[in-house]
Assembly symmetry: C2
Homo-oligomer: 378 residues x 2
C-alpha cells in the first residue's frame, strides 16, 4: 500500500541507504540535506511497485560520478530536476513517477528530492537492491530496458542527451562527459512503462532502507548492539570485526578505486577491494563474499555505515555481508556485475562463502575478458 | 549568383580545400569519395551568402576528431546525415541549408555529401575561411551564435545532443565524447538564421577552394609552376623551399600535435609547429607567420597540399602563407585563435612577418593564461 515520505524519515532512510550502498553512493548527508530542503513544502507520496499503473512513465534520477568529488561539489535542487525536464521535453511525454536507480548514499535521497521538487510520486523500488559503480548495472538492463535517452547535467548548466546503441555505451559516453563536467553530474534515464518497472525493479527498497536505518537507531537508544540489529534486518551475517590498518585509494576515470586491510585482535586479517562499492572480501586467502552480494563496513560500536571514501586508518569497524537480489546470480547478470567484470579473477561467492551457481556458466567469461581490455585501455 | 556543384568539381574542391586546411582537416580523399557517392544522383545547388533568405535555418556539418584516425575510419553517408536529422528533430524545425564550419580537407567535402544526401542546398561560405582545431573557433562564435544544441554521432549509431553554457563547453564535452566514441564523429550544430549566417560566415569559400585547386591543376597541365599559381590565387607568399628533415607527432586528447623541421639547400631551417593545423612558422629564430594567418605546406614540384599527418622525412616541400579573413585579427578573435591560446608565447604575426595589431591589446592576455592552465590540466 502507498505511503508518504517526509522529513522525519530522511535520517533513517539515509542511514539505511548508506548500509545498502556497500561503501558507495557518496556521503548520504549531502542527499539528506537536499531531500529535507525539497520536502519542506510537504511529504511525497510513495507507491508500492505493484501499484504503479501500466501506462506510467517511470524514470531513474541519480547522481553520476566519483563519491570523493561529490563531497566537495554540493548539488542544488535546480540541478536535480534539470535532467528530468530535459528528458521529458526530449521524449515529448510527461514523466509520471520517479524511481531510484540504486539504493546507496545520495542515490536514495536525490530521487526523493527530485520527486518533491517536481511534484511527482516516488516508487518504493530501485534498479539494483544495492549500489553498483556503472550505469548499465541495473536489473532492467537484463530485460532490455534502454538507459538512453539519458540526460545529464552539471551545476554550470550544461546538458547532454545521449541516445546510444546499448546501455554500456550510455555508461561510456556519460562517464567521460561526467569527468569533463567536473566529475559529478545529475542524470535521468531508463524511461520505463509501469509494466517494465514492475518486472525489472527491486520492490520495497526505500522501506527496507528506512527499516534498517531505524533498527540501528533503536538499538542504540535501547543500548543493544546496533550491528546485530542491522544484520538481523538484512538477513545477512557478520564477516569480521577489527581495526583498519591500511587504505589505498585513487580516483581514476571517475571512480574511487582501492583496497583496505582490516586486522582483528586475534591477528587475522581481512582485505576489502572496492571500486566505489566494496566488491571482494578475503580473509587469509579465503574469499568470504564478492559482488553481487552486499559487503558493508560499519563503525564497530554505533553501527554507522562507513563509505569507501570515509575509511581511515585506525577505525574500529565490523564487516557485514548480505544476499543480493537473486536475479543478480544468473549467468547473464554475473557477466555484468560479477567479480570477473571488475577484473578480479575469481567466481562470484555468495555471502555465506559458497560459490554462486551462475558464475561457472559460460556467460561470465566474455565479460571478464572485456573487462580486462577495458581496464588496460584506460 | 547561385551555381551547382557536381562530381566534376570535387577533385579541384578537395585539392583547394586541402590547401586552405593548412595541414588539418584530414585526408581530402575520404571526403571526396563520400561527396562523389552522394552527388551520383545529381548536382547540389549552391547559394551565394548574399542569397540566403533571412528565415533560412543554416547548420554546420563537420567531422570532429583527430585526422590521423579519420584516415582509418571511413564514414558512411548514413553517418553524415544522422546528426542533422537528430538536431532537426531536437529543434523541432527543419534545416533548410548546409554550410561548412571550415574549409579544409574532409570538412569541405563532407557538407557537400550531407547536402546531397539530405536534398538541401549548400551555402558558398564557411565559418573560418581556413581550418582550426577546436569547435568554438568559428567567426559566428564572436557574434554570439551558440554551437549548441549540437548533435554528434558515431559509426556505431550512438548519438549525443549537447546544450551547453558556451561554445567552449560544447568543444570540451564533444571532444571527450568523440575520443570515447572512437576518436572521430560527425557533428551538426551552430543553428543560424540566414541573417546570422550572412553576418558571421566567410563568403565564397567553396568557390575559392575550387579556383585554387583548378589553378594548381592547370599550371601542371601547362608545365608552369603550380606553387606560384597557388600563391597568386591565395594572394599570399612563399616562405620557404626545402626538405623535411624531422617530424615529431603525437595524437593526444583527440588532436594530432607536433612539429616539423625543414632545411633549405642553402642550409637555413624552418620550423613548423602544428595542432592538427600549422600554427607557427619560424626560421632561424625569426617568426615568419602564425595563426590566424594561413601556413600551408605543399609538395615542391606538383603543388599538392600535404596534411600534417602526411608530412614525412625527406619530402621536398614549399611552405606558403596567406592572409586570414581580417575579422580573425581583432583582439577578441586573437584571444580565441591567436598563438597564445595554443600555448605559444608570442604575439600573432601576419603572413608578411609584421605583428598583428590586435595581439598587443588586452584581449589576448587572459586567453593565453587560460590556455596555459588548460594545457597543464590535461
Amino acid at each position: 500500500m502507498g505511503w508518504q515520505i517526509d522529513t522525519a524519515q530522511i535520517e533513517d532512510l539515509a542511514r539505511g541507504a548508506a548500509v545498502f550502498g556497500t561503501g558507495g553512493g557518496g556521503d548520504p548527508y549531502i542527499g539528506s540535506l537536499l531531500a529535507r530542503q525539497a520536502l519542506s513544502g510537504g511529504p511525497v507520496p510513495v507507491l508500492d511497485l505493484a501499484e504503479v499503473p501500466d501506462d506510467a512513465h517511470v524514470l531513474f534520477v541519480a547522481m553520476m560520478g566519483a563519491p570523493t568529488v561529490m563531497v566537495e561539489k554540493l548539488p542544488s535542487l535546480d540541478e536535480v530536476v534539470e535532467p528530468v525536464r530535459a528528458l521529458g521535453s526530449h521524449l515529448g511525454r510527461p514523466v509520471t513517477h520517479i524511481a531510484c536507480a540504486e539504493v546507496g548514499g545520495v542515490n536514495s535521497t536525490i530521487p526523493v528530492a527530485a520527486a518533491a521538487a517536481l511534484g511527482l510520486p516516488l516508487v518504493d523500488a530501485d534498479g539494483m537492491g544495492r549500489a553498483f559503480p556503472e550505469l548499465q548495472m541495473v536489473l532492467p538492463t537484463l530485460l532490455g530496458v534502454t538507459a538512453s535517452p539519458l540526460a545529464l547535467s552539471d551545476e554550470k548548466g550544461n546538458i547532454a542527451v545521449l541516445q546510444t546503441v546499448d546501455n554500456t555505451w550510455t555508461e561510456r559516453i556519460a562517464r567521460v562527459a561526467t569527468v569533463e563536467m567536473g566529475c559529478s553530474t545529475m542524470i535521468a534515464g531508463f524511461s520505463m512503462t509501469g509494466a517494465q518497472a514492475r518486472a525489472g525493479l527491486v520492490g520495497g527498497s526505500l522501506s527496507r532502507c528506512i527499516t534498517v536505518g531505524r533498527a540501528i537507531a533503536e538499538a542504540r537508544a535501547a543500548k543493544t548492539d546496533p550491528v546485530e540489529a542491522a544484520v538481523r534486518e538484512l538477513a545477512g551475517r557478520e564477516l569480521f570485526d577489527g581495526k583498519v590498518v591500511d587504505v589505498q585509494r585513487a580516483t581514476t576515470t571517475g571512480f574511487a578505486r582501492g583496497r583496505a586491510r582490516i586486522e582483528s585482535e586475534g591477528g587475522t586479517a581481512l582485505t576489502l577491494q572496492f571500486q566505489n562499492e566494496h566488491l571482494v572480501a578475503e580473509a587469509d586467502g579465503r574469499i568470504l563474499a564478492t559482488t553481487p552480494d552486499l559487503i558493508m563496513v560499519v563503525e564497530g560500536e554505533s553501527g554507522e555505515p562507513i563509505t569507501t571514501e570515509a575509511l581511515r586508518y585506525g577505525q574500529r569497524v565490523r564487516v557485514l555481508a548480505a544476499p543480493a537480489d537473486e536475479r543478480w546470480h544468473s549467468a547473464e547478470a554475473l557477466a555484468m556485475v560479477g567479480p570477473g567484470y571488475f577484473g578480479y579473477d575469481m567466481p562470484a561467492h555468495r555471502f555465506d562463502g559458497t560459490v554462486s551457481h551462475g558464475a561457472g556458466s559460460s556467460g561470465a567469461e566474455p565479460a571478464h575478458e572485456a573487462s580486462r581490455e577495458r581496464i588496460e585501455a584506460r
